[in-house]
Amino acid sequence: MRYLLQRLGFYLIAGWAALTLNFFLPRLMPGDPATALFARFRGRLAPEAMAALRETFGLTEAPLLQQYFTYLSHVLRGDLGISVAYFPTPVSEVIATGMLWTVFLAGTAVVVSFAIGTLLGIVAAWRRGGWIDSWLPSTLVFLGAFPYFWLAMVALYLLGFTLGWFPLGHAYGDDLTPAFTLEFMADVFRHAALPVGTVVIATLGGWLLSMRNSMITVLGSDFVNLARAKGLAPARVVLRYAARNALLPSITGFGMALGFVLGGSLLTEIVFSYPGQGYLLVQAVRNQDYPLMQGIFLVITLAVLGSNWLVDVIYMWLDPRTRGGRS
């Protein structure tokens, strides 16, 4: 328990550091939201609009430090401010439109990829030299080495555009109303197939390889040999003895991947027009929308810290050594 509390304290400090960076980094960019709007219009916006825009966005000339403390106090009250790019919608509302879809899309992709990759890794290590071991890792690593953007475009072009098996984008059919009906759910899954599929293909190799390698190390250790010598069933040796221990490094990676779910699905969402949060971040940066940027970064930070904490908990459960509070 003390271990978990210690970690919690560490996360609080990390959270504060991230909040501070969230505030200062966007403000180091030249320009402001009002000028960014002119980029989109290239001369179609009258020069007079500038004064009105500055007035609208309430750009203050207050000292940065003062703005920083106002920001901190607002965040603590859960007030993320008003988005500039989606004026006058509050940031929390803007983020809410995309977050669930991103969590669903990228979360599914990470979980599926981790589960399949790890299982294949176990199989590959157990049947070392078999065809899974000799073909799958290299093929998957090869696929994963392509830039994700390209892979996704090719998948969209071949499977969506040319063959017409999958929809070209969006999270569900445009003519459907979101509801907890079987039809709607099926449609959501059909729309998610291609984005999730491409992410899984691109990341599978990493999971497989890391699990396979740590399995091989563990399989060579004495306690596994002992288990074998005692004549335990092979499945029990692999799963209860070897895999459980070999899983630890992968769990760390899994926690990281889970944390990056909210920020990392940007490319997927752009290629497949998925109404998620990744695209919001692009919009926020393009429009120098400080409040929205801060809001999204905050959510990402919390997700990373939260999932790391989750990993700590899982570690405690998987690895008895962490439980004793060893120093």
């Binding site: 030249p30 709007l37 980029a39 219009f41 009258a46 070209l168 752009i270 998925y274």
Partner: protein, 555 residues
Amino acid sequence: MPSTSRATILLLGLALWSVPTGCARPRPTATEGVLVVSQEMQSSWVRNFNPLTTATAARWPTLAGIYEPLFVFNSVRTEYVPWLGVSYEWRDARRVLRIVTRDSVRWSDGTPFTSKDVVFTFELLKRHRALDRRGVWAFLSRIDAVDARTVDLTFSRVFVPGFDEIAAQPIVPEHAWRDVVDPVAYANEHPVATGPFTEVRVFRNQIYELGRNPDYWQKGRPYIDALRFPAYPSNDRANMALVFDELDWAGNFIPSVDRVYVARQPDAHRYWFPLTGSSIFLYANTSRPPFDDVRVRKALSMAIDRELLVEVALYRYSRPADATALSDGYAAWRDSVIAASGDWVRYDPAAAEQLLDEAGLRRDAQGVRCLPDGTPLSYDILCVSGWSDWVRAAQVIARGLSAVGVTSNVRTNDFSAWFQRVQEGQFDLSLGWSFEGPTPYLFYRWLMSSATVKPVGEATMGNWHRYGSATADSVLDAFEREADPAEQRRLADEMQRTFVREAPAIPLYPNPSWAEYSLARFTGFPSAEDPYADPSPNKFDRGECLLVLTTVRPR
């Protein structure tokens, strides 16, 4: 272990079997009479129909489709079309603008539209400076309703071009907006409006649909039942939807449109890119020598191969600019004789070399031209990273300038960094846009009026090259006070003559207005054969897309 391999084979089989049954892409549900449009690039929609706040906050076509302006400006025919206002006249030595509003117009909730609504709208702008996007209260002093159909706008000074800004203002209903506490941050989710499309039928994060106004004041119009807007996050995605006929109308840039879009369905897919966009310039910072010398500016201009430039940068969608720099949006104002007299936009490296020699910029031993004090001429041409048309144009320019002994390199900056540098005048050469307006007044004002020149280091919205011309000042000043069309033409000619003579900036090409549409389900879009208006959905700022929205009809 044989059982494992059997399981693997089973799984693989399952996977292979499930792929083809992922069922074929459903063709878009083409509901009859519903026009599918893409104008904004977003991944999900945020509900906002406020026509008064920032141009991008409200969903299209809030400014010209849900709400309407007093007069619509047709940039293809260069004329005003009476809309909520039926006529206007200048009174009291052009100090008062009297506008007569249309009778028989009703707001979508049934309340009659009157002159009171116009007065209310403008007073709202006065109370909330943030809403005054066109800066009308810089020249207005008061507004009064004379009777239920007549409005008097009193000017604080004689300023005839002010009409353009008043005409374009979308009008909101007093009865629905009177009690809005903060109209700046008001999302106006249920618009009460006068336009052809006022009923929000569907609003979800991926799609929204606007139904026709059943009591629209143009009886029988609009002919289409509803507008539908799928959210596409990128140009590429919207173009794909166009190619697949999921979209009926869009305003995107498409590379090689004939091959990519038209060839896909030659009997239905159409585009028309009239050159009514803003003109693109190469700005030379005239606060720095040698660009203060008109001969140098003209020489640089003659060193640029514009034919090559429009081919490389713009797939030949545009034409080389003439010496008046006016786009086709000013076709009615442009004087072809004056334009032809400006020979400095023709590609002529020999003449350019001669002019540079005359200006005293001799070549040194390495062949690089130098200032009289010996500083070699070596410049960065600034452009915005990611704006590939500009970058390619800058490369053509750099090659041309270097050939006549002025070493130039293309330097791309992030938009904000670029914008800051040009605004503050911290550059030598840069690409840039120009401003659009119904008359050449605004365009030339921001190119050569002394009133727009700011000292280097101070940010300015236009005239980044910092050029002021005494001749232009007096002509622009006279134009501000002139309401007679014939006299206005004469003054506009004078502006063109001044520009051709002084070459304040180096025009490159007029930007096209992008528009693609499919005739598979709808007809009546503007085209080169029937150029009744600008075809682009992007032309909403002065109400022009209302002309298209009220003309397009189902087949």
